[in-house]
Amino acid sequence: MSDKKEAGTNGHAKSEGAASIKVLRDRHGGMSAEMKEYYKELNNIRKLLFDALKSGPMTVPELARKCSLKSETTMWHVMAMRRYGEVVEDKIQGDYYSYRLKEAH
């Protein structure tokens, strides 16, 4: 698939540090404070949503209420979970889909 015409750093022997994530981390001074905060919150929200969904399918407004999250934040995360195969649509309730965890991984 990858095309021979796509030019770039082609075919050069890799340097020693190429496979070491440490090199990248050091070069960028590690995660920024902002990024650390972002990552922490991301994981907190995801944990809340996963736990809530264990009790059964829910719509986004229901999830938001249960987890005390802003509904647009909930929506974004549920859609991310959907994209990466962690949740799927369940039934439609009124004007809303409900979502459930996808059991098998």
């Binding site: 698939m1 990858s2 095309d3 021979k4 015409k5 796509e6 030019a7 770039g8 750093t9 082609n10 075919g11 050069h12 890799k14 340097s15 540090g17 190429a18 496979a19 070491s20 994530i21 440490k22 090199v23 990248l24 981390r25 070069r27 960028h28 590690g30 995660m31 990024m35 972002y38 990552y39 991301l42 719509t59 986004v60 407004p61 938001a64 509904s71 647009e72 909930t74 929506m75 974004w76 995360h77 549920v78 859609m79 991310a80 959907r82 994209r83 990466y84 649509e89 439609i92 004007d95 809303y96 889909y97």
Partner: protein, 434 residues
């Protein structure tokens, strides 16, 4: 070190539909072309659209073959994730300096398996979905992306190193650095395309604050089957919208936001999206508020009539304000011009701001061609030779030269390629092979 050639006949800046077409047309004539794109994938705006007016063809279905054609053409070299630093005149040609941004992935060995993306622990708003959807810190932009290789977004990286561990082809090059590339080219075609007017441009619309006031490109993604939600939902809470309003000229023909021109495509894309939404959501009610509908192209007036026949409400009146209710519905305030000037406050589940087109690239000193009052690249002779920029040997194609739709962009790209070919013939030893 890059293994690009030292010299190309033509360089095309921007690999949207216009840039790809120009590159193909030039390459078909035997010229060696370098196609430079700043994003990880070629395809521009078009590959992210849902369907196109007035034919309602699936946009990515007709754009992807073009992308593949460009990628496989023996005379085209594609350079993605690369910025143009400088274009300097050198005789009839140019010395060009490019900056290849590090992907931290070997473009040649990556097989596009997405294993790294699936393993990466970070979620980031995805540019391709205009923030509505998500991606990981290491990602392949979308299933139609060319090249199908991963890119690591170092700003959002946790430096956990999982990606390299799961990569089956050993592609990660964590010590990659930005690389400056110097080449010579005989002619340049600028096809750097569009961005839409910022969502916050007109403060009264609160487009940058209210989640259900959506950007029209975001709406294209929402409508796409491979979009962020897989179906049409509103961003605040996933409700299936039953009442949608389109606000025309939200980002055009308005001096207070510095965009006094008509962007040409917004009336048509609003009609298109409205019509399609009625196919996606049963019983949806859609109103397009406008100053006048400009259905300027072949078959467009008919399309407009069709949308009205299929029940889209067309209301004359420029929306002045958008506010939010407690449940994140939207209240728009508008004067009904055809009903004696009645002022109405109407409630909607979702409002799409039909934003205008603005140039995506402001090269400043990187490329010494003139920019017009409207911000788009100026043509020396807009009537007779619309694709000639103010610098000899630099040609213009697509929205970078002014608002236009896809067919016009393609036609203009062909014209720019022809002008460039003529220029190359005139100024260099012809290399045309039969």
């Amino acid at each position: 070190m890059s293994d690009l050639n030292k010299r190309y006949d033509g360089m095309v800046i921007g690999a949207g539909i216009a840039g790809m077409q120009a590159a193909l047309d030039l390459a078909e004539q035997g010229f060696q072309v370098l196609l430079v794109e700043k994003d990880p994938s070629i395809g521009g705006v078009m590959v992210g659209l849902n369907k196109v007016f007035p034919t309602l063809d699936c946009s990515s279905c007709i754009c992807t073959p073009r992308m593949a054609e460009a990628a496989h053409h023996p005379n085209i070299t594609i350079q993605t994730y690369t910025e143009v630093l400088n274009v300097d005149r050198n005789g009839p040609g140019f010395n060009v300096k490019l900056l290849k941004k590090p992907r931290y992935v070997d473009e040649d060995t990556c097989i596009g398996c997405s294993k790294c993306e699936l393993e990466c622990p970070v979620l980031v708003p995805h540019e391709f979905d205009y923030g509505l959807g998500s991606r990981r810190a290491v990602y392949i932009p979308h299933s139609n992306a060319i090249p199908q290789v991963a890119t690591l977004d170092v700003e959002h990286c946790t430096f956990c190193g999982k990606c390299a561990k799961v990569c089956p082809a050993d592609c990660f090059i964590y010590d990659q650095q930005p690389e400056e590339i110097e080449i010579e080219v005989g002619a340049v075609i600028v096809a750097s395309g569009l961005q839409i007017t910022p969502m916050g441009a007109k403060a009264e619309y609160n487009g940058d604050k209210l989640p259900n006031v959506v950007n029209p490109l975001g709406m294209e993604r929402i409508q796409s089957s491979n979009g962020p939600y897989g179906t049409v939902l509103r961003p605040s809470d996933g409700k299936i919208p039953k009442k949608i309003a389109y606000v025309q000229c939200a980002g055009s023909r308005d001096k207070t936001i510095g965009v006094s021109y008509c962007s040409r495509v917004c009336c048509m894309y609003a009609l298109k999206q409205a019509l399609l939404t009625t196919h996606y959501i049963h019983g949806v009610e859609i109103t397009i508020y406008h100053m006048d509908i400009r259905a300027f192209g072949k078959g467009y007036e008919q399309f407009y009539r069709r949308a009205m026949d299929e029940g889209i409400k067309i209301v004359k009146g420029k929306v002045a304000k958008i506010d939010e209710t407690d449940n994140q519905d939207l209240i728009i305030r508008v004067e009904h011009l055809d009903e004696g000037g009645r002022v109405e406050e109407a409630r909607y589940d979702m409002v799409v701001l039909s934003q205008g087109l603005m140039p995506a690239w402001k090269p400043g000193s990187a490329l010494g061609i003139d920019v017009g009052e409207d911000g788009f690249f100026e043509s020396v002779n807009p009537k007779i030779k619309p694709t000639l920029s103010t610098m000899e040997g630099v040609f213009l194609a697509g929205v970078s030269a002014g608002p236009k739709d896809i067919p016009d962009s393609i036609v203009e790209a062909g014209a720019a390629a022809m002008e460039a070919a003529n220029y190359l013939q005139r100024t260099t030893k012809p290399k045309v092979t039969a």
